[in-house]
């Protein structure tokens, strides 16, 4: 029997605002605990929240870019639960009136385009951090340290519909979302810093079943690699349970990075009652047409639009996807260079292969200022026109990275230009044949491998600037 996995993703994106969601405390990046605090983000008696306008602009921009309907008259709700790193023991979040609903994101899976439907995008505040000593979990810790620097940092939660079919698709979705928040400039989007954190809801059903299987939530996946592995593991685990007629329990499971397995965290999750109610400390979140229009004007080019632009030059979907997720200067360099060379494949390969490879080797992250698309296109054109060998192209590139050189001039002055004039080469070929009569005789007698020797002689007497294949063709013709 065929098993169909269904995955829904819940992603938290930490916004890059200067201050926290409901107070003026700075959002800080530090190991020093509890240095950016005030009565509000510490939940002191009598303190009140005031919404951060910048954060609301950011989430609105994201919701618009993800094709959501915008809730014009939304509100904040209190989500009630007790946890030591949640200062008020309720989280200010959104419930039935989130900023964005019913959106979608286009992703690329191999060479095809898929649409990931988004259920909702809402605004909330982050919690503090707990450091459990003696064990990683609160119930078995010997002591717990609390750091409230993160408390109140603005978070956007993006929830997809349960429509993702594979771990690869989930990874591609996260990559797309990550690129989107980076391009919009609303988050640093760094997974390793926790700017982007995701949980996966996974169920498995038999092909043809009308209903989804029992949902299991997986937490603690800290990289795309662990996301892929955890989903694959969980699909296998659930499939095996179904195959052996065992029950799948609705629960939250923890991905163990070292053992590469999921294990049960808590199973009462399904019955949690957060007692949501609208936060009486905050007025309704009214997003006017004017506000939304102004945000729309500020939306930069989106990853999907970048992809379209690149694929219009003739690249494949996966190549276009790759460029849309590369840094801006690579994407721009490709487009500008391709415009001059008019050769998308060579330009793409030369930039993503040779150029990025060389930069990595010398540990450079960006290009020197003299490195323009014009100069790069000169190198590519020289190669394409057979004026220089690919090896010479690489050599010019190495120099262009180091020094303010002009590729054409460099090729000339360093004698890298190949002789492509047939008459000119023909003369040299004749000369070489005349002065190597014995060798010519031996070739004619059947010693083919001596052809290489003659080609070498031709190149040598030309000073190394002859295209070897042309030389060989002419030589064979003469013989």
């Amino acid at each position: 029997m065929n098993m169909i996995p269904t995955i829904g993703m819940e992603t938290h994106v930490e916004l890059n605002t200067n201050s926290k969601m409901f107070c003026n405390c700075a959002v800080v990046e530090t190991e020093v605990p509890n240095i950016s605090l005030c009565p509000t983000c510490l939940g002191l008696p009598g303190a009140l929240p005031v919404p951060n306008l910048k954060a609301i602009e950011s989430i609105t921009m994201l919701a618009l870019s993800a094709n959501c309907s915008i809730t014009r008259n939304g509100m904040f709700h209190r989500k009630n639960y007790f946890y030591p790193d949640l200062p008020k023991n309720y989280q200010i979040s959104q419930f039935d009136l989130p900023v964005g609903v019913n959106g979608s994101l286009e992703i690329i899976l191999d060479e095809s385009t898929e649409t990931i439907e988004i259920e909702r995008i809402h605004m909330e505040e982050d919690t503090g951090k707990s450091i459990h000593k003696g064990s990683g979990r609160i119930d078995s810790a010997t002591s717990t340290l609390l750091d409230f620097n993160r408390s109140g940092v603005p978070l956007v939660e993006i929830v997809t519909k349960p429509i993702i079919r594979s771990s690869k698709e989930a990874v591609s979705y996260i990559e797309e979302l990550r690129q989107l928040v980076i391009d919009l400039g609303i988050s640093e989007g760094k997974l390793e810093k926790g700017n982007l954190r995701f949980d996966a809801n996974i169920s498995v059903a038999q092909e043809g079943d009308k209903e989804l299987g029992v949902k299991v939530e997986i937490k603690n996946m800290n990289s795309l690699r662990s996301l892929e592995k955890a989903i694959d593991y969980e699909i296998k685990r659930q499939t095996k349970l179904i195959d052996t007629n065992k029950e799948i329990i609705q629960e939250t499971r923890h991905w163990d990075e070292d053992k590469e397995v999921t294990s049960s965290m808590r199973s009462k999750e399904g019955s949690a009652d957060y007692r949501y109610f609208s936060d009486p400390d905050l007025p309704n979140m009214i997003l006017s047409e004017e506000f939304i229009d102004n945000i729309k004007k500020e939306i930069p080019i989106l990853p999907s639009e970048k992809r379209k632009k690149v694929s219009d030059t003739g690249l494949s979907l996966s190549e276009s996807n790759h460029l849309s997720k590369s840094e801006d200067w690579i994407y721009d360099l490709y487009l500008n260079t391709q415009k001059i060379t008019n050769d998308s494949k060579t330009t793409y390969n030369f930039i993503t292969g040779e150029l990025q490879g060389q930069l990595r080797k010398v540990e450079m992250e960006t290009l020197p200022e003299w490195f323009s698309s014009e100069r790069l296109s000169e190198i590519i054109t020289l190669i394409n026109d057979n004026k220089i060998s690919f090896t010479s192209g690489k050599e010019i590139l190495t120099n262009l990275i180091k020094n303010d050189i002009n590729p054409n001039e460099f090729a000339e002055t360093n004698n890298l230009i190949q002789e492509n004039d047939f008459d000119e080469i023909g003369k040299i070929v004749k000369d070489v044949i005349e002065s190597n009569n014995d060798v010519v005789q031996r070739i004619k007698d059947g010693e083919d491998k001596l052809i290489g020797f003659l080609v070498g002689q031709i190149i040598k007497s030309s000073g190394g600037n002859i295209n070897p294949s042309i030389a060989k063709d002419l030589l064979l013709k003469e013989l």
């Binding site: 009598g46 303190a47 009140l48 609390l146 009486p280």
Partner: protein, 484 residues
């Protein structure tokens, strides 16, 4: 001189004429406090040294002719659910008995900048939940008119200190009548402004959508002066409103409505009598007085006891012993939180947290909290309609004069009934004032309440000031004479 019969403006005039010094006034109120505290227990803390120091600084300002405001050098007491930097804010709860606030509430900042001398923190029902101050973890406050009677609540301490002259005025907070009811019980003026006119930043929240800070004073004029000093939009409180006050008639052309439902069963004859007496005075002056009906006021109590507990159940979640306040030990952090809350909260607070948690629970939300929200908006609409016809509404402030200790502790519903007349103004966010008008057979004060449309606070105060003169109550607690 007899300070307690002097108004803030009179004292300010004496200060300016250098006939009186703030430190002298402070000394007198402190003497009153020292004499009365053993009888009425209205203060949780007196700021003796700080008060002397602050009043001396005020002395210097008047010597130099550099007074900060009309409130400069005026001694004012603060309800102990309003944060004053570097002082305890206990909310009369064990759970906050050791809590020292690192910041000033916005109202405190404003009063500080006005040169006010803070006399101390006053007693209240724990977290402002109650109508008699009997729910204080640190013992009840007694009514200065008769210590066998309650001072009302929850701002019982703040009303009692003004009544007995151990402060010239005080700040209270009013969620369902907590300023007006104790003001009425203690024979002083209590004013609850329009929701949002006074910042709540720094007021420990009970029910955020109902809470409002206001003054308790000897006169309407004093209430006006304090209100003008503490009101105004606050960027730290997202529910505070821009100052867009609305004017309505303030003289004999004003039309007054008597709320029929608050002159029926459940209201004592003595309380009704005060309203009728006042209506006569108004009519003699030329005001038109008509009977109006607000049928939903009968539901106000039920609506209030769903909305207020629901909000408090979340507002009080932060008291968990993790970051501040008292902490009980436990095997796990959850046990610690449970033990802390079990030990730290009193019975009434626990009762309301339970009630509110229940009302918000999945499966019950729609039937209780959701329904209460709908009914609340209907009450607001009812008031809007009534105010198309009349400018002010008059009613008793309380159904009875101050009751005796223990009289209502056994029957919570009866206790809740004492806020019957005051709760509607909180549900609709309206300004309301309690003005003392007479004494009961047992010589306990009685008052009337005036309400007006949202944002008409200034008109309400001006109209009340005139009415106060007509009523000419002018009586003080006998305790003052006994003390001298």
């Amino acid at each position: 001189m007899n300070l307690s019969n002097s108004s803030i403006s009179e004292i300010n005039k004496l200060y300016k004429n250098k006939e009186l010094k703030p430190s002298e006034v402070y000394e007198e109120v402190f003497t009153n406090a020292s004499l009365s505290e053993s009888i009425i227990h209205a203060h949780l803390k007196l700021f003796q040294e700080e008060g002397i120091e602050a009043s001396k600084l005020a002395d210097e300002r008047f010597v130099k002719g550099k007074q900060l405001s009309d409130l400069d050098g005026i001694p004012i007491a603060i309800k102990d659910n309003i944060n004053l930097k570097n002082h305890e804010t206990t909310c009369s709860s064990k759970i906050l008995s050791n809590y020292v606030s690192p910041y000033d509430a916005t109202v405190i900042t404003k009063l500080r900048n006005s040169g006010v001398v803070f006399t101390g923190k006053t007693n209240l029902d724990e977290f402002a939940m109650g109508s008699s101050t009997e729910n204080s973890a640190f013992g009840p406050t007694k009514n200065p008119w008769n210590p066998d009677h309650v001072p009302g609540g929850s701002s019982g301490g703040s009303a009692a200190v003004v009544s007995v002259g151990s402060a010239l005025a005080s700040l209270g907070s009013d969620t369902g009548g907590s300023i007006r009811q104790p003001a009425s019980f203690c024979g002083v003026v209590g004013f609850k402004p329009t929701y949002g006119t006074v910042s709540r930043y720094g007021l420990v929240a009970f029910a955020s959508s109902l809470d409002q800070i206001g003054p308790i004073t000897n006169s309407v004029e004093d209430a006006k002066i304090i209100f003008n000093s503490i009101k105004g939009h606050d960027p730290l409180d997202a529910t505070s409103i821009q100052d867009t006050s609305i004017e309505i008639p303030e003289d004999k052309t004003a039309k007054v409505g008597v709320i029929k439902e608050l002159m029926e069963d459940g209201i004592s004859d003595e309380s009704k009598n005060e309203v009728e007496k006042t209506i006569k005075l108004l009519e003699e002056q030329g005001n038109k007085v008509v009977e109006v009906s607000l049928p939903l006021t009968k539901m106000a109590l039920s609506i209030y006891y769903l909305i207020a507990p629901a909000e408090c159940s979340a507002n009080l979640s932060r008291f968990d012993g993790v970051r501040y306040g008292s902490r009980e030990s436990g095997e796990t952090s959850y046990e610690m939180i449970e033990n802390t809350r079990a030990e730290g909260f009193g019975e009434e607070v626990k009762k309301r947290i339970l009630l509110g948690t229940y009302a918000l629970s999945a499966g019950y939300y729609d039937a209780y909290y959701g329904q209460a929200l709908k009914a609340r908006s209907l009450i607001t609409k009812d008031f809007d309609n009534i105010f198309q016809e009349v400018d002010y509404l008059i009613s008793p402030t309380t159904p009875t004069p101050a009751f005796k200790f223990g009289e209502k502790t056994e029957n919570p519903l009866e206790m809740y009934m004492s806020d019957l007349c005051t709760i509607p103004a909180n549900l609709a966010g309206l300004p309301a004032i309690s003005i003392p008008t007479g004494l009961s057979n047992q010589n306990m004060p009685l008052s009337i309440q005036l309400m007006s449309p949202a944002r008409t606070d200034s008109s309400l105060l001006n109209f009340s000031e005139k009415l106060e003169k007509l009523v000419a109550f002018n009586q003080r607690t006998p305790l003052l004479k006994d003390m001298k």
